[in-house]
C-alpha cells in the first residue's frame, strides 16, 4: 500500500535525532565497550589492560558456576512465566464473564503490576522468613520440614519465583483481558447455543483464539524474568544460598562490580546479548506476523 508522506528534507532527521542520539551514546557505544572489555584482562583500577583474546570466554564456558547460573536463569524464568501467565489467564477468563462488578474485579487484579519486583521480593522475604514468617508457621502444622530458605536452595528459588510472578500478574491479566474482549461474542454464543458448557467453551474456542497473545506473553515474561529480575535477587537472596538463586544477570553484576573482574563481566554481557537477540527476534517475528493476520 503506497503511503502518503510529507515532503521535507530536513524535518525527519530532526525528529529522529533525539532517539538516535540516545541510542548511539547509551546503547551502541556501551555495547561496543562491553565487547572490547570482554577481550581484555583489566585491573580493577583500570590502569592495566592486557589483551587476552577469547580467554575470558573460554574461562566462562569452562566454569561450572557459570552453567549453574544459566540453569538458574532458565529455571527462574520458566517458573515465573508459567506461574504468572497461567494464573493471569485463569483470572482474566473469570474477569471477562458476564457478571456484575467487572471493573472493580479487574482493578483488583491489575494493581499488583505496580509493585517493583524488588519490593515484592522484600515482602515475600518476610512472609517466608524462617523465624518470623507467616508461611513457615502455617506450614509447620502440616509438615515438620524446615522451610529455611537461607540453607535450602529450592526454597530460596521458590521464594523469588513466587515474588516475581506475583508482581507481574497484573500486566499479563491486562493483556489477556484485552485479548479475551477481542473475541467476538457471536463466536462464543454460537458455541453455547451448541450446548457447550463454560469449560468446554473455554478449551475449544477461547483458548485457541487467545493463543497468539499467550505466546506473546510467554516470550515477554521470559525476557522480563531473564533480564529485569536483578532487583528481586539483590534485595532478597543476593544469589544465595550457595549459588542457588544466582541468575546470569546477578553473576554479571557480582563479578563486575563486587569482584571487580571487568573482563569476565564484559564477556558475560556479550553472551547475554546473544541470548537477548535470539529471544527478541522470536518476539518480533511473532508481532509482525500478528499484524499481517488482521
Amino acid at each position: 500500500m503506497k503511503r502518503t508522506v510529507f515532503k521535507s528534507w530536513w524535518l525527519p532527521y530532526l525528529l529522529v535525532l533525539p532517539q538516535v542520539a540516545v541510542t548511539i551514546v547509551f546503547f551502541f557505544w556501551p555495547a561496543f565497550k562491553s565487547l572490547q572489555l570482554s577481550l581484555f584482562r583489566v585491573s580493577p583500577f583500570g590502569d592495566r589492560m592486557t589483551f587476552v583474546g577469547l580467554d575470558n570466554f573460554t574461562k566462562l564456558l569452562a566454569d561450572p558456576e557459570y552453567y549453574q547460573s544459566v540453569v538458574n536463569s532458565f529455571i527462574f524464568s520458566t517458573g515465573v512465566t508459567v506461574l504468572s501467565v497461567a494464573a493471569a489467564l485463569f483470572a482474566a477468563a473469570l474477569a471477562t464473564q458476564r457478571i456484575r462488578g467487572l471493573t472493580a474485579y479487574r482493578t483488583l487484579l491489575l494493581w499488583p503490576y505496580g509493585i517493583a519486583p524488588a519490593v515484592a521480593g522484600i515482602i515475600f522475604l518476610f512472609i517466608f522468613h524462617p523465624a518470623y514468617g507467616v508461611l513457615p508457621y502455617f506450614l509447620s502444622f502440616v509438615t515438620s520440614y524446615e522451610f529455611n530458605w537461607l540453607l535450602k536452595g529450592w526454597v530460596a528459588l521458590t521464594l523469588v519465583i513466587a515474588a516475581t510472578a506475583w508482581a507481574h500478574i497484573g500486566y499479563n491479566v491486562a493483556f489477556f483481558i484485552a485479548g479475551l474482549l477481542a473475541i467476538p461474542a457471536s463466536v462464543i454464543e454460537a458455541a453455547s447455543v451448541d450446548g457447550a458448557g463454560p469449560i468446554r467453551r473455554f478449551t475449544a474456542i477461547t483458548f485457541p483464539l487467545v493463543s497468539p497473545i499467550t505466546f506473546y506473553l510467554v516470550v515477554l515474561n521470559m525476557v522480563f524474568a531473564f533480564f529485569e529480575s536483578f532487583g528481586v535477587i539483590d534485595a532478597v537472596t543476593k544469589g544465595g544460598p550457595g549459588q542457588a538463586t544466582e541468575i546470569m544477570v546477578y553473576k554479571l553484576y557480582k563479578d563486575g562490580f563486587i569482584g571487580l573482574n571487568l573482563g569476565s563481566s564484559g564477556a558475560q554481557s556479550v553472551i547475554l546479548m546473544v541470548i537477548v537477540i535470539v529471544l527478541t527476534m522470536l518476539q518480533f517475528r511473532y508481532a509482525e506476523r500478528k499484524v499481517t493476520y488482521s
Binding site: F45, G240, D255
Partner: protein, 441 residues
C-alpha cells in the same frame, strides 16, 4: 547634587569594608572528602569524630560521606578514581587490602606522614593490626575500625539450663556439651550460631589454632598463593559444624550479620561474632549476657591469636600537596590516644595503640566493661605466629563469597566437608592465579 557623600553612607561602607577584611581567610576551608561505609550508630560516631577534627582547627574541613556497604564503597571509589573524581580518603574493608596495596592508586600512609613531616609513633600500634596492613615494616593504610570475633553467651539461658553463668565454655567439646544441656532444658532452641561464616569459622579458626589458611605465609610472601583450608583441620572443623547443624547444636543463620537476631531473640544461647557488636547488644539485648574468648579444640592444636576484621583508611594519589596536608592531619588526629579512647568507648571497635589501651586500663575502663577486654586479650595475649598475622590475598572479596557458598552447601548436607572445601579451594586458587596474572609487576 552634592559631591560629598552623606556621612551615613561613609560609615556603612567602612563597616562593610571592615567586615570583609576581617573575614577569616579560610572563607573557603580546604575540603577533604572521606568516603565510608558506616551506618546507624557507627555512622553517627564517624560524623562526631569528624566534627571534633573540624572544630579543632580552622584550615581543613573533612566531609564524611556514606557510600553504601563496604563493597559498594570500594567499587564507587575505584570508579571515581578512574574518572578522576575520587575522594581523598576511603574506608576499605580488610579483604580489599591486597587490591588496594597493589593498585598504584594509593598513597601509603607511612609515606604521606613522612613527606608531610608529621611524627607518628608507628611502634605504638598494636601488633596484630599493624601486621595486617604493613609491607616491609611500613604501614600502608591507617587502621580505623578493627575488631575480632569473640564468643557471646546468654547468661540467663545458662542459669536456666543449670550451667554456671560465670563459666563460659573454653573448648569446642564443652560448647557441644553445654548446647545439649541448653536444648534439653528448653532454655534455648539452638546451641550457637555465627556471623560472617568465612571470617569466623574458617579464617579465624585456622589462625586461632595456629593452622595456615594459605601458602606463602597466608599470602604475605608472594602472589603465587594457594589455599590450605581443605586440609585436616578445615575438614574436621567444618565437618563438625555440619554434623552439629543436624541436632541444632549449631544453627546456621546466613552471611554477614544475618544471624544476629538468633542470639538477640534468645533462640541461640551462644554466638560468635565481631567484638564490634558489643555496643549494639548493650543497647538491644534484654537478657544478661557476657563475652569470652573463642572456643578451642585443644591439643594437638596450639592456641595462637585470632585475626582482625574491620576496615582501614586509605589515601588516594592525585591530590595537591596542600590537601594532602589536611589528610595527614586528620589521620594523625584520629590515631591520637584521646581519640582512640573515645572511639573505642563509643563504638566498641578496638583502640589500636598500646598507649590508648594502657590509658583505658588505667582508667578502669576494662574493669567496668570486662567484655571489652576479651577482644584485646584474644589478640595480644596469645602466642602470635606466622599463621595469625592475618591474610593478604587478591580477589579476596570473591574468595570469601566462594567459601561461604561452599559452607552453605556443606552445612545443608549437599556435599561432604572434604568435597565442599576442595571445591572452594579449587575455585579460589583460580581466582588467585587470575589476580597474580593481573598484577604481574
Amino acid at each position: 547634587m552634592r559631591l560629598t557623600p552623606k556621612p551615613w553612607i561613609v560609615s556603612a561602607l567602612a563597616l562593610i569594608l571592615a567586615t570583609l577584611l576581617a573575614a577569616p581567610p579560610a572563607l573557603a576551608k580546604t575540603e577533604i572528602h572521606f568516603w565510608h561505609a558506616m551506618t546507624g550508630q557507627l555512622g553517627e560516631a564517624v560524623n562526631e569524630l569528624v566534627k571534633q577534627f573540624n572544630e579543632s582547627q580552622s584550615e581543613y574541613e573533612v566531609k564524611p560521606l556514606r557510600k553504601g556497604s563496604y563493597a559498594e564503597t570500594l567499587t564507587a571509589a575505584i570508579a571515581a578514581y578512574r574518572q578522576k573524581s575520587h575522594p581523598h580518603i576511603v574506608q576499605v574493608f580488610e579483604v580489599g587490602t591486597q587490591t588496594m596495596m597493589l593498585s598504584g592508586a594509593i598513597y601509603p600512609v607511612y609515606q604521606l606522614m613522612k613527606e608531610q613531616e608529621i611524627k607518628v609513633d608507628w611502634k605504638d600500634f598494636i601488633a596484630p593490626v599493624v601486621g595486617y596492613y604493613s609491607k616491609d615494616g611500613n604501614l600502608y593504610s591507617m587502621p580505623f575500625n578493627s575488631s575480632t570475633p569473640i564468643f557471646y553467651y546468654n547468661k540467663d539461658a545458662f542459669q536456666k539450663a543449670g550451667l554456671d553463668p560465670a563459666k563460659p565454655p573454653l573448648t569446642w567439646k564443652q560448647v557441644e556439651e553445654y548446647a545439649k544441656k541448653l536444648i534439653a532444658s528448653g532454655a534455648a532452641k539452638c546451641g550457637f550460631s555465627t556471623g560472617w561464616p568465612s571470617w569466623t569459622m574458617v579464617e579465624n579458626m585456622h589462625a586461632w589454632h595456629d593452622q595456615p589458611f594459605a601458602t606463602k605465609r597466608n599470602g604475605f610472601d608472594g602472589l603465587d598463593v594457594q589455599l590450605l583450608i581443605n586440609k585436616e583441620f578445615g575438614v574436621k572443623h567444618i565437618g563438625q559444624l555440619a554434623a552439629w547443624q543436624k541436632d541444632n547444636i549449631y544453627s546456621y543463620g546466613g552471611r554477614a550479620g544475618a544471624a544476629d537476631p538468633k542470639f538477640v531473640n534468645g533462640d541461640c544461647a551462644m554466638y560468635i561474632q565481631s567484638s564490634a557488636l558489643i555496643g549494639g547488644f548493650t543497647r538491644g539485648v534484654k537478657f544478661q549476657w557476657a563475652t569470652a574468648q573463642l572456643p578451642h579444640w585443644g591439643p594437638p592444636y596450639n592456641k595462637a591469636t585470632s585475626i582482625i576484621g574491620g576496615a582501614t583508611l586509605w589515601v588516594f594519589k592525585g591530590k595537591p600537596a596542600a590537601e594532602n596536608r589536611g589528610t595527614a592531619q586528620f589521620l594523625k588526629f584520629i590515631s591520637d590516644t584521646n581519640q582512640q579512647m573515645w572511639w573505642h568507648v563509643t563504638t566498641g571497635y578496638l583502640a589500636i595503640s598500646n598507649s590508648a589501651v594502657r590509658n583505658l586500663e588505667a582508667g578502669y575502663h576494662f574493669k567496668k566493661n570486662p567484655d571489652q577486654f576479651t577482644a584485646f586479650a584474644q589478640l595480644t595475649k596469645g602466642k602470635a605466629g606466622p599463621n595469625s598475622q592475618g591474610l593478604r590475598l587478591g580477589n579476596f572479596v570473591q574468595i570469601r563469597d566462594v567459601i561461604e557458598g561452599e559452607l552453605e552447601n556443606i552445612i545443608a548436607g549437599k556435599k561432604p566437608a572434604k568435597q565442599g572445601l576442595d571445591d572452594a579451594v579449587a575455585k579460589s586458587n583460580d581466582m588467585l592465579k587470575e589476580f597474580a596474572a593481573q598484577n604481574k609487576q
